[in-house]
Amino acid sequence: MLALRAAFVLAALAAWQLVVVTGAISDDAVAAPTSVARELPAILSDLAFWSAAWDTVRTWGIGLLVSMALAIPIGLVLGSSDLAYRMSRFTIDFLRTIPPVALIPLALLLYGATLQMALLLVVFGSTGPLLLQSMYGAQQVDPQLRDVVRGYLLRRRDVALRLVLPTAAPFIATGVRISATMSLLLAVGAEYIGSAPGLGATIRVYEQTSNIPQMYAYIVVCAGLGALLNLTMMRLERRIMAWAPSHRS
């Protein structure tokens, strides 16, 4: 299987190389994998790259943490009460459908091309999915179980920590994974469109100066970052949630 997969990767790379070399796609638009590969070592040893990557990862991380701090408690509270859920449903649905990218012009006016601008975008975009997942998770609490727990007059804190949180945890974990992907997309987007410091802004600079191989090398690095993030989040979710029935296999 490993050989098969490696063969497929090679075939994909070869096809990419072929369309560029034969001129089917102009090399002003797409760089060949070989020329991207030539650029990569230089980029990886360049301090500017690491500083840009750090900026992106920092925006991603802070944004994700802020949205977690906002979305998980609010979602759990709203999900635990039928009344609160009904009252907030329309508002949340409406806000969630606004594409976060549309806030870039407003955020740019407010903060300029800065970390705050990117953060505003990331937080707005990744709070939504996580909020929904937390709400949904809290709604999964077995009403019978809740009555029993209440019947034993457990304190509110115990109900929250021992019943609601564990029930909702698998859903929250999925929400965090979705939000993490979203955060990276929006961080890079804010950098590319709004020139906030980071990998996206570098891609933009190389695009405008027509340094096509460098630009593609950065795109490949971004893809690698995304893939790494996906993989890590998936592993992490499986490990942390190993006790939950939905994650046992």
Binding site: A29, F90, F94, L185, N230
Partner: protein, 266 residues
């Protein structure tokens, strides 16, 4: 226990009460926004009254045809391409497990590319305009549909497939009567993710490579520092997004009802 009111009336009042509950918070927020911003002199947070009059001037309906309609068109075309390509590729890969296994790392990698990083490539290839926009929408919306379809096709009970094979059910019949209906819920789940992704990407594309569209209008407003216009555009996107959601939910109910009835034991 009091006497039970007629069932019809309780249901009606319950619906009315639920609707009222849902509308309370938005109304309160709107009223708050209206009064808190009424005397605002901050250039970034203009009074809601100004935003709404700007909204009316721009979107009802001076720029609606020239900007909102192109956005919706590109969205629809890109999304439809994504559905066709995603479902087709998902079915092909799902029926060829060996190929799907071999392609897994490449698929996983391409899917993880933050789409914003791919926009410049699309822009260089296709240049500013609808072709670029539709291509990036279709590209990004394809992945969730493809991967979900693949999961759905893989999950089809193998006895059903063996049965179809031994009765020599023709391929087209097999495709439309077995494979697609069975993978239906997965396909629709993928489409749901793809819709909201596509909405984001259409705005992305309008911010960097378009000459019309809602995103383009918002960008122009930003350039000329017309903050109320920026807000108006965002409000329009919220309304349109909400409507798209309602349409999709209707489609989902329709499609899945068919699925439920097919599953009914006879």
């Amino acid at each position: 226990m009091g006497t039970q009111p007629p069932l019809m009336r309780t249901r009606l009042t319950r619906h009315a009460r639920n609707l009222a509950l849902e509308l309370v918070l938005p109304l309160v927020l709107l009223v708050l926004w209206w009064f808190l911003s009424a005397r605002s002199t901050s250039p970034y947070f203009p009074p809601l009254a100004t935003i709404l009059s700007q909204f009316q001037q721009t979107w009802l309906f001076a720029h609606f045809l020239s900007d909102a309609v192109p956005t919706l068109q590109h969205l629809a075309v890109g999304f439809c391409v994504a559905v066709v390509v995603g479902v087709a590729a998902g079915i092909v890969l799902g029926s060829l497990p060996l190929l799907a296994e071999a392609a897994a790392p490449v698929l996983e990698f391409v899917r993880s590319v933050p789409i914003a990083a791919l926009l410049p490539a699309g822009l260089l290839l296709l240049g500013i305009g609808p072709a670029f926009q539709i291509a990036v929408i279709a590209f990004s919306a394809t992945w969730p549909i493809l991967l979900n379809t693949l999961d759905g096709v893989r999950g089809i009970d193998s006895t059903v497939l063996d049965f179809a094979r031994s009765y020599r059910v023709p391929m087209l019949v097999r495709l439309f009567r077995i494979t697609i209906p069975a993978a239906g819920p997965n396909i629709i789940a993928g489409m749901r993710v793809a819709v909201s992704l596509a909405v984001s990407v259409v705005i992305f594309s309008e911010l960097i490579g378009a000459t019309d569209g809602i995103g383009y209008q918002i960008l122009q407003a930003q350039f000329s520092f017309a903050v109320a216009d920026v807000w108006a555009g965002i409000i329009l996107l919220g309304i349109l997004g909400y409507l798209i959601n309602i349409v999709f939910r209707g489609f989902e109910l329709l499609a899945l009802r068919q699925h439920r009835s097919m599953r009914k034991p006879s």
